[in-house]
């Protein structure tokens, strides 16, 4: 598809697609993302959708959004604000105008602004949300997408409903034209998706082309934009979402440990995709079990762990609360188990589809008794792979449950990933205990890691009993002895603490090794924090950035790093949780910065906070 319009080159662009939940905006965004990744841009995405599958059509509550930030330079976050806002109806404009930069572009489907849609969006009578006066700061393109779509498919033989569902393809085609995206991969994916429905396939492709041609031929759009491929580290890349990366990480750990995976779980947003993904890979000797409830999910995983499997359970905050007692059992029985929490807004049911980092305290302290557990948190969507692999390795080699704290933002967000070769990944060495005819078997005799032996049923001579009652040191027999109990409490704590010998040291991600301000982050906020710090350094400020992926135990050098700065700012999407732990452990007056809106930080707000503390 050749074109003759003016071509303008850009370093980076942020586009937000917004429409009704049923308008296919997530699919549109994903297809645009895949093509952008294949084109070689760096990118970061942020889907923002309602908890309801189909909230009332046309209402603000039903608006589903997908934002992509891509560029020819390194991209670390999905963008605070967008350059282009595509809105399929009035509610989408109302809900998203705040995210559009001044001077930005609005592409509006005007049939979504008819009186019915205005009423559903609760826009005051007589007000036209597309009024050029109110939108004078933006460049608005009004297109009757619904009508063109209908026109395009009038002879397709499809029903009105089926025809209407193709209109997102027009948007995709138009944006592909505007940003010169390669179409081959997308066409191939559409062909795959609708291989069994040839008439729908034909309709989708013809509307997709109509969108492209609309840009090319109508002369409505003056410019086409070119975003050159980013200069990225050489290697093989693919685009990946957090939950998929996490799934691949545990499968890689299964292959590298030669242990079959057993996942015991219960569906919950935003963790269910891990169950869906793992269920596809049964030929890796993976068993997935959708249990009757959250408790049964983790309980079954504990049973499988006792039997020698690489056992996992997945959930989100409310489900983790239900699993609490069973996590304590795994700590007491000292069995390997990976507990994956895809955090969402809480408490209670909270904000099921929105992101938050408010379960750190739950992971640290949320059990009865002294119940320490390693806690790891991925920094980016692709880092979910590394963290999942590490969590499995530590769980298996140290005979302990391990928490992974991901979040909704990482789970559904995506970015290019320089994926490893299988041969790049280390083997995870484990040995099941074998009987020694000369010695009685001691289920709680520990090795240098303080890990006890993994003695699986089927091993003659190792018949033994374990359980939730306090164990006698070494023998594992029931013991109510006070001194033994204290010894075991300390041993379990020391076992977790000793893991710091087996995880990487903390690094300064950006900036100098000493200085005025250190920004210390954890989990899914990495991209935003890094962008903010990079900008400030470029502007000549004395600020550094370090990001924690291992939260319990902390890397051994963390205390030393923290002492090298006048101030430590800890931004978190909660009311201040890591900051409390850091203050407690290192006695430093760390400064919290908190946001609890179910939304990621923006780099602008982070910059402002840092500037304020730099100037104090």
């Amino acid at each position: 598809m050749e074109t003759s319009t003016n071509q303008i080159s850009l370093d980076e662009v942020t586009i937000r697609f917004a429409g009704d939940s049923g308008d296919g905006m997530q699919l549109t965004g994903t297809q645009f993302t895949n093509a952008t990744a294949l084109h070689g841009n760096d990118l970061s995405t942020f889907p923002d959708f309602p908890a309801e599958i189909r909230a009332p059509i046309g209402t603000v509550a039903g608006v589903s959004g997908f934002q992509i930030h891509f560029g020819s330079k390194a991209i670390y976050n999905p963008g605070d604000h967008c350059d282009v806002l595509v809105v399929m109806n009035a509610a989408a404009l109302k809900a998203n105008l705040a995210y559009l930069k001044k001077g930005g572009v609005i592409i509006a489907n005007i049939s979504g602004f008819d009186p019915k849609n205005l009423r559903l969006a609760k826009i005051a009578e007589g007000v036209n949300p597309l009024d050029p006066e109110t939108l004078s700061e933006y460049k608005v393109y009004e297109i009757d997408i619904s009508r063109i779509n209908k026109e395009c498919l009038k002879d397709s033989g499809l029903s009105t409903k089926e025809i209407d569902r193709s209109k997102n393809m027009f948007v995709l085609g138009l944006l592909f034209w505007m940003y010169n995206r390669p179409t081959e991969g997308t066409i191939r994916q559409i062909e795959l998706k609708f291989a069994k429905k040839p008439e729908i396939l034909k309709a989708n492709l013809s509307v997709f082309r109509a969108g492209w041609n609309y840009g090319e031929t109508t002369e409505v759009f003056e410019n086409q934009y070119v975003v050159e491929p980013a200069s990225m580290k050489p290697g093989n890349y693919r685009n990946i979402m957090g939950n998929n990366a996490l799934t691949l990480g545990v499968i890689a750990a299964s292959v590298k440990s030669k242990l079959p995976i057993f996942l015991g779980t219960y569906p919950i947003t935003p963790a269910s995709d891990i169950l869906h993904e793992l269920s596809k890979y049964k030929n890796f000797n993976i068993k997935t079990f959708q249990a009757e409830d959250e408790i049964a999910g983790i309980a079954a995983a504990i049973g499988a762990s006792y039997g020698g499997s690489l056992a996992l359970t997945t959930s989100s905050g409310p489900g983790i609360a239900l699993k609490t007692e069973a996590i304590g059992l795994a700590i007491m029985m000292e069995l390997p188990l990976v507990v994956i929490n895809i955090q969402r807004g809480g408490p209670s049911t909270g904000l099921p589809t929105k992101t938050e980092q408010a379960d750190l305290m739950q992971a640290y302290y949320g059990r009865n008794g002294e119940a320490p557990i390693p806690i790891f948190a991925p920094a980016t969507s692709s880092d979910c792979f590394n963290i999942a692999f590490e969590a499995c390795r530590i769980a298996l080699q140290h005979m302990t449950p391990v928490f992974i704290l991901s979040d909704a933002y990482l789970a559904n967000g995506s970015e290019p990933w320089r994926y490893p070769e299988s041969s790049d990944l280390p083997d995870i060495k484990i040995e099941f205990a074998k009987a020694n005819p000369d010695e009685a078997f001691m289920p709680y005799l520990r090795n240098e890691k303080l890990a006890r032996p993994w003695a699986i049923p089927g091993t003659k001579g190792l018949e033994h009993r374990i359980g939730g009652i306090e164990k006698e040191d070494i023998t594992g027999n029931i013991s109510y002895d006070p001194i033994n109990h204290e010894k075991m409490v300390k041993l379990r704590a020391e076992k977790v603490e000793r893991i710091s010998d087996y995880i990487p040291l903390q690094q300064i991600d950006t900036g100098k090794e000493t200085g005025k301000v250190l920004v210390l982050g954890w989990g899914g906020t990495y991209g935003i924090l890094k962008t903010a710090v990079l900008d400030l350094i470029k502007e000549g400020h004395d600020v550094s950035f370090s990001h924690l992926r291992f939260l319990n135990p902390f890397p051994k050098n963390l205390g030393a790093i923290l002492s090298n700065y006048d101030k430590v700012i800890i931004p978190e999407l909660n009311s201040g949780q890591l900051v409390k732990i850091i203050r407690d452990k290192y006695f430093i007056p760390a400064i919290p910065y908190n946001k609890v809106q179910g939304l990621p930080f923006t780099s602008i707000e982070i910059k402002n906070v840092i500037l304020q503390h730099l100037n104090d």
Binding site: N285, G308, S309
Partner: protein, 358 residues
């Protein structure tokens, strides 16, 4: 071959030629038993240890999984693998173990509080999934370990520490609950009838699927004599009905029988000459509808039109064949591995759309 298979092969090779014949003593662990003297649990432990050598299963392939409660101490006393877990969850933990290791012979030990109250959810789901697990539910109609509160099988009006004015709770009928959950093997036995218990245990083990055995167990401290009406000489003739396949439902030393009149079970006098044993309901544990009625032989007289109190059935009430969850799951994995070959990690790391940066 994965690590578990490698390990099991290795240990199997090491024990080649070891054909030790096990006795019940081989199943006694070195742990001191901590049940109250006189507890019905002792009898159950003894009968289980007695039948174990007859099963032809190696000790190392047996796992006893329990929840919480007096009964749940059981695994500590068995010289097999064992897990004493958390309250109510043994069914779920045993399920995960069975799914991941179908080769193991798994016994779940539980009580009326553990399986029917806090673990009620897992109990019904285990039964419908029909994993090949032997589930022994020690029913003493009381909470023993927490010292004497009523349980979900306690009779209505029961005076306990937590119900000084009598329990307002209507009790579960465990056999009927198990029928409702589509259990595939439902049996009842008593701690004071060792021979009967051994026979039921052997049949339970033989059944492929979840074998649910309710065992009436006397708690001589908090609920002494709860089942004496079914166990003691003076009364049991009139109250206990021992069912056997192909045999008529007769009790009271053959003086009484049960006939089905329409949908109603009727007690008939076999001494008057009007009816003989051959006129009675012939027990067939494969008959779902008859079993459903039999499971309903319970204290509640409101179910019979004339207010007759039916005797309590003991023995195998129902048995049927249905696929086990773990087998279907294993078949899915095997068929995928056969069709696609063992997974190629590099292929899935790469995905469908990838590109190279030089």
């Amino acid at each position: 071959m994965n690590k578990i298979q490698e390990h099991l092969l290795h240990v199997a090779q090491q024990s080649v030629g070891d054909e030790t014949v096990l006795t019940s003593k081989d199943f006694v662990s070195d742990q001191e038993i901590r049940w109250c003297p006189g507890c019905g649990d002792y009898s159950i432990l003894k009968q289980v240890q007695t039948v174990m050598p007859q099963l032809g299963i190696k000790r190392e392939n047996m796992v006893f999984v329990s929840g919480i409660g007096c009964s749940s101490r059981f695994p500590y006393y068995m010289e097999t693998f064992g897990m004493h877990t958390i309250h109510g969850r043994a069914a779920a933990i045993a399920s995960g173990l069975k799914m991941s290791r179908p080769d193991l012979d798994i016994w779940m030990i539980s009580g009326d509080g553990d399986s029917l109250s806090i673990g009620g959810n897992h109990f019904i789901h285990l039964l419908r999934r029909n994993l090949n697990i032997n589930l022994l539910l020690f029913n003493n109609q009381i909470y023993g370990l927490t010292k004497g509160q009523y349980s979900p099988t306690s009779e209505q009006g029961k005076i306990t520490k937590s119900t000084p004015m009598g329990s307002p709770d209507f009790p579960f009928n465990p056999a009927a609950l198990a029928m409702g959950a589509d259990g595939t093997f439902i049996a009842r036995t008593l701690d004071r009838d060792p021979k009967h218990m051994q026979e039921v245990l052997l049949r339970a083990h033989k059944h492929k699927g979840t074998s649910f055995v309710e065992i009436y167990q006397n708690c001589n401290v908090f609920n002494d004599g709860a089942f004496f009406t079914f166990t003691e000489k003076e009364t049991k003739g009139n109250t206990a009905l021992f069912v056997e396949n192909g045999k008529p439902l007769v009790f009271s030393n053959g003086e009484k029988g049960i006939r089905l009149e329409g949908h109603q079970p009727k007690i008939v006098d076999l001494t008057t000459g009007e009816f003989s044993a051959s006129d009675c309901w012939i027990h067939d544990d494969k008959d779902f509808f008859k079993a459903s009625l039999l499971a309903r032989f319970f204290d509640d007289v409101t179910h019979t039109t004339d207010g007759t109190l039916l005797p309590r059935p003991f023995g195998v009430i129902y048995e049927t064949d249905r696929a086990c969850y773990e087998d279907t799951l294993q078949q899915q994995v095997d068929s995928q591995m056969e069709a696609k070959g063992f997974g190629d990690l590099d292929k899935i790391l790469k995905g469908n759309d990838h590109w190279e940066v030089k």
